[in-house]
């Protein structure tokens, strides 16, 4: 298990796939660990990508700073990992908390990226998300990691995903409970206590950017992704039908396909962001559909008029 060194801390990472291939770097969400990307690694390698995964500081097998974890340190850890990949094209994708770290990286070191895919992501903490974050943190403090998982699971995945595992949720949660420590998760969550909106800096992200948002994501709803679409110049917003916040977990085949097609389009010179709004296919390999003209993609009911 290889490690990078950031000061006195160690960051566990894995790089797999052909050495000279374009690379995808995948950044974990809050309660994730690198192994959860295994399906993505296999599928992306099969499509001739190299894949790098790692545990953020405070997660999994990386060191867990005892008192504070700054998001700047997470960006620095990511920078170290990307340096390991050499000079080839690098596509960076992160989900939720990892999406924020990916955005920060793109703002600080965008010149190193060929493309960016923020998923279930946000650049600001409006009141709903701020209060939800505080409530989740209180849940962690009072009820431990298991209770935080209990809160996140029904928020982040669909009934269709939950129904067959409803009587074995403990086993679904167990590995996450084993590798995550309360104090480390709390430190990760508290790295938002001094969070400043990234919105004013989004325009500096010059790389092709595909923003992925689940249709029913109510933890980080459409409006938060809209901020990214409006401010990142070469971006498109892609809405994933029927998906919730954790669509990487629920729809891996579709998500891998979207990631691969995005990178292939960028590398093939076909990508045009145009700040467009698209609807992703239901299944991998399907066709994208433009969001119907004349309707507002920020509404859940088909209201005429558009925010674009």
């Amino acid at each position: 298990m290889p490690f990078l060194s950031h000061g006195s801390y160690r960051i566990r990472y894995e790089v797999e796939g052909p050495a000279k291939a374009p690379a995808y770097v995948l950044v974990n969400g809050l309660t994730q660990y690198a192994e959860l990307w295994a399906t993505y690694c296999n599928a992306l390698i099969a499509r001739q990508f190299r894949v790098a995964t790692f545990d953020l500081l405070g997660q999994g097998a990386s060191d867990k700073p005892a008192l504070f974890i700054s998001q700047d340190d997470q960006v620095e850890a990511l920078h170290l990992l990307i340096k390991e990949l050499g000079d080839g094209p690098v596509f960076l994708s992160g989900i939720s908390f990892g999406g924020v770290i990916a955005l920060r990286y793109a703002i600080a070191h965008g010149e190193r990226l060929a493309g960016l895919v923020p998923m279930s992501c946000f650049a600001e903490l409006p009141p709903q998300l701020f209060l939800l974050g505080n409530a989740l943190r209180t849940g962690l403090i009072l009820g431990g990691t298991s209770y935080l998982q209990d809160l996140l699971l029904p928020m982040n995945v669909s009934d269709q995903w939950l129904k067959p595992v409803l009587d074995k949720l403990d086993s679904v949660k167990r590995q996450g409970w084993l590798v995550n420590d309360v104090y480390a998760l709390q430190n990760l969550m508290e790295s938002f206590l001094d969070f400043e909106p990234l919105t004013p800096q989004l325009a500096s992200i010059g790389v092709p950017t595909m923003i992925l948002n689940g249709e029913f994501d109510f933890l980080t709803p459409r409006a938060l992704h809209e901020t990214l679409r409006v401010h990142i110049p070469n971006s498109s917003l892609v809405i994933i039908p029927g998906a919730y916040h954790a669509f990487t977990l629920e729809k891996p085949a579709l998500t891998v396909d979207l990631l691969a097609r995005f990178a292939e389009d960028v590398l093939g010179g076909r990508w045009q962001g145009n700040k467009a709004v698209w609807i992703a296919p239901e299944e991998a390999g399907g066709a994208f559909a433009p969001f119907p003209a004349g309707y507002d993609h920020l509404r859940a009911i088909p209201m005429q008029g558009t925010a674009r």
Binding site: A66, L67, F68, W177
Partner: protein
């Protein structure tokens, strides 16, 4: 060597030798905290934060009491040496850069309590097959759950405004305490065939 207790007995119970070693370590660590909280606890509370000190004292005492009664004890010759090493590690080591001696002692106590509550996860040693109705299994789950709550007092103090001028020193002392306690815990577990997945 496994990362979990075992092999379990036919009723899903943890081997007595492992129970003895783990319970002895936890009693030593939480017992030392209970003693030091007891010394710090005044007969008459004068500040609101001292109510938390009272709670910490009783929770630590409860953990000791619980383990004494829930564990199955068997002779463990290595305990004589190990317990002496553990007790030595719980001695106060005030942080030198904090000029207020009483604050320095409180910070030291908090760093040790943080390390015990945060980095020792006895319930994570339980395999899936462990019997949830076994008193030792239940005790470990309860201790880990309570530790997560007790930890909050240490976090509030160590991240608090009073210690901002000493932040680097406090962080370093805390990391040292974590490493020290993780090492002791790892050694205690290795002697009974358990590999600590958080070993240095």
């Amino acid at each position: 060597m496994s990362e979990f207790f075992g092999p379990l007995d036919s009723e899903g119970g943890v081997p007595p030798r492992q129970q003895t070693r783990v319970a002895a370590f936890l009693i030593s660590a939480h017992g030392a905290l209970a003693r030091q909280f007891a010394f710090a606890l005044p007969m008459k509370l004068k500040s609101a934060w001292q109510t938390e000190l009272n709670a910490q004292f009783y929770r630590e005492s409860e953990i000791v009491s619980l383990l004494l009664r829930a564990a199955t004890w068997v002779p463990d010759l290595a305990l004589a040496y190990m317990a002496a090493t553990w007790e030595g590690a719980w001695l106060l080591q005030p942080i030198k850069v904090i000029p207020d001696q009483s604050l320095a002692l409180v910070v030291d106590l908090a760093t040790r309590a943080h390390a015990v509550h945060a980095s020792i996860r006895p319930a994570a040693l339980l395999p899936v097959e462990a019997n949830p109705h076994d008193p030792f299994v239940m005790a470990l789950r309860r201790i880990e759950f309570e530790s997560g709550r007790l930890l909050q007092a240490q976090i509030l103090l160590l991240k608090g405004p009073e210690l901002v001028p000493f932040r680097d020193a406090v962080s370093s002392a805390l990391e040292r305490r974590h490493a020290e306690i993780r090492r002791l815990w790892t050694e205690a577990l290795e002697g009974v065939g358990i590999a600590n997945r958080r070993a240095e």
